[in-house]
Amino acid sequence: MTPRKLIALTRAGIMESLQFRLGTFVTLFANLIYLVLVYYLWKAIYASSGTDVVNGMTFNDTMIYLILATALFNFLEMFIVWDMSRSIQSGKIILDLLKPMTFRKYTFWSYSGSHVVSFVLTFIPTFVVVMIVTKGAIHMGLNLLWFAIATVLALIINFNIEMIVATICLYTESTWGINIVKETIVLLLSGASIPLAFFPDKLGTVVRYLPFRAVYDTPLSILLEKNGSDTISGLLSLFGMQLIWVVVLTIAGTLFWNHSVRKITVNGG
């Protein structure tokens, strides 16, 4: 696997994403409306609560967190589960398996192009808008670098979660069911719909050790310097958690995939 091949895949992915030109604008617009909904909801919630700070989060903190979580969600979104079930049904999976690189690698790098596009087209504009609207509420320092690293790690964790769920599709045709379970769990337990800070203590403690929070909550906490990420030890423990999950999920995902593919090829399914 030469880097040139990988770059070629990324490039092809970028061009493919740009083909959907109107789709790109519509996605941006739909996101904006979604954020308006989020804004009004939390404004009402804070207005009714009577205090300005809840669980260490001000209204502004919550909004920035949720807006960036949405942008991150778009950026990280993959459709591996759907693609997989489609290519199994059409038999295209055989061709994918014959590609001169491992399927996991191939999938990861084919998606990298659309990641680049959505990062430039959704995350960066969102970030800039947030900066302007909040007049610089996000600290611009080393945290940006830490955030970038955490995001790459989040991307790998997310990819592995997707791949593991997609592998299950080799065993059952119930793609919808499997996908919705995954989506629900990830959205709730990663803090993408409600910031983890609002979770009740016991539930919050459990969730903090699960891989899902490493996808959304960790990069955002680091960016916003919450959850102790403004100290070296806090930062290290967040990164440590991410790294552990990267390793565990990569190994588990690879083993599960290899095992399943072997089984499927033997059965001729």
């Binding site: 994403s17 083909q19 959907f20 109107l22 789709g23 790109t24 519509v26 996605t27 739909a30 996101n31 409306i33 979604y34 308006v36 909904l37 009004y40 909801l41 404004k43 009402a44 919630i45 207005a47 009714s48 609560s49 809840v54 669980n55 778009n74 489609r86 059952t172 045709e173 119930s174 919808w176 069911g177 499997i178 996908n179 919705i180 379970v181 629900t184 769990i185 959205l187 709730l188 719909s193 409600i194 609002f198 979770f199 009740p200 539930l203």
Partner: protein
């Protein structure tokens, strides 16, 4: 020549037959049914947990207390059932359009929209219905609403109204794929908008109040119709006329969908 009498009765008969056949064939995929049902329960559970977490921290939103909010929540769940059960094939539309397979729906002497939609009946929506009904009964009791035949009839009428709006939203969202390549995200985000239907529309103000009432009518998916039951002494005009508006929105979305079929040039093949 005398074959031109395909009225409502004809379509109902065809629908019933397709449905019976579809259910029969679904029964032969038990594993799929079980997994999908688990998925459905999980999403509802996650939604409910989100709700509980929010109300654990904030006892009321915009003057609406826990039980009233629960009522809205349950109302929206029930109103979502028809779109889930009967209009689920909309999710496949963009794949069909992209691959060119959609053309097969145009070769029959029946309504294209009907033919397309009738193909899929989604059983798992019924799980959501059960969940919604249970919650509604609970909230109904806690609030201390009266039970009488006229009130139940009113409830049914306004539930139906609410679901018409949801169907209209999803129809229109799905139909965007006739114009825009890669518009899949529109459906995804519209489906996420529905999560905001369970909050009182009074949280919106200004232009967005208008948008979420008349353009993307999520205010009608629970808020306006349920006011008829929750606050009988003080029902706004919009609530009263919502059934007529619901029919209008459904009709418009249907026209939009059909316009897409006309406009689409079937070059996918």
């Amino acid at each position: 020549m005398e074959k031109n009498k395909r009225g409502l009765g004809f379509y109902l008969r065809i629908y019933r037959k397709v449905l019976v056949q579809d259910l029969k064939s679904k029964m032969s995929y038990r594993a799929d049914f079980v997994i999908s049902t688990i998925g459905m329960i999980m999403t509802n559970l996650a939604g409910f947990i989100t709700f509980l977490i929010l109300f654990g921290k904030f006892p009321s939103i915009n003057g609406w207390d826990y039980h009233h909010m629960l009522f809205l929540y349950a109302f929206s769940l029930i109103a979502l059932t028809p779109v889930q059960c009967f209009f689920d094939n909309n999710w496949n539309l963009r794949f069909m359009v992209q691959s060119g397979d959609f053309i097969k729906y145009c070769f029959r002497p029946i309504n294209v929209f009907f033919y397309f939609i009738s193909e899929v009946f989604d059983v798992k929506g019924l799980g959501q219905l059960a969940f919604g009904v249970g919650t509604l009964v609970y909230a109904w009791n806690k609030i201390g609403l009266v039970v009488s035949v006229p009130i139940i009839l009113k409830l049914l009428l306004y539930l139906l109204t609410a679901s018409l709006f949801m169907i209209a939203i999803m129809n229109a969202a799905a139909a965007t794929c006739f114009w825009i390549q890669g518009s899949g995200y529109v459906m995804v985000i519209m489906f996420r908008f529905k999560d905001f239907a369970k909050y009182p529309a009074s949280i919106f103000s200004g232009i967005f109040r208008v948008i979420f009432t008349f353009v993307i009518p999520i205010a009608f998916v629970a808020y306006y119709p349920s006011l008829v039951l929750l606050d009988p002494g003080n029902v706004p005009l919009l609530s009263w006329i919502s059934p007529a508006l619901g029919i209008l929105f459904f009709y418009l979305s249907y026209k939009f969908w059909m316009l897409g079929v006309r406009r689409y040039d079937f070059t996918g093949s």
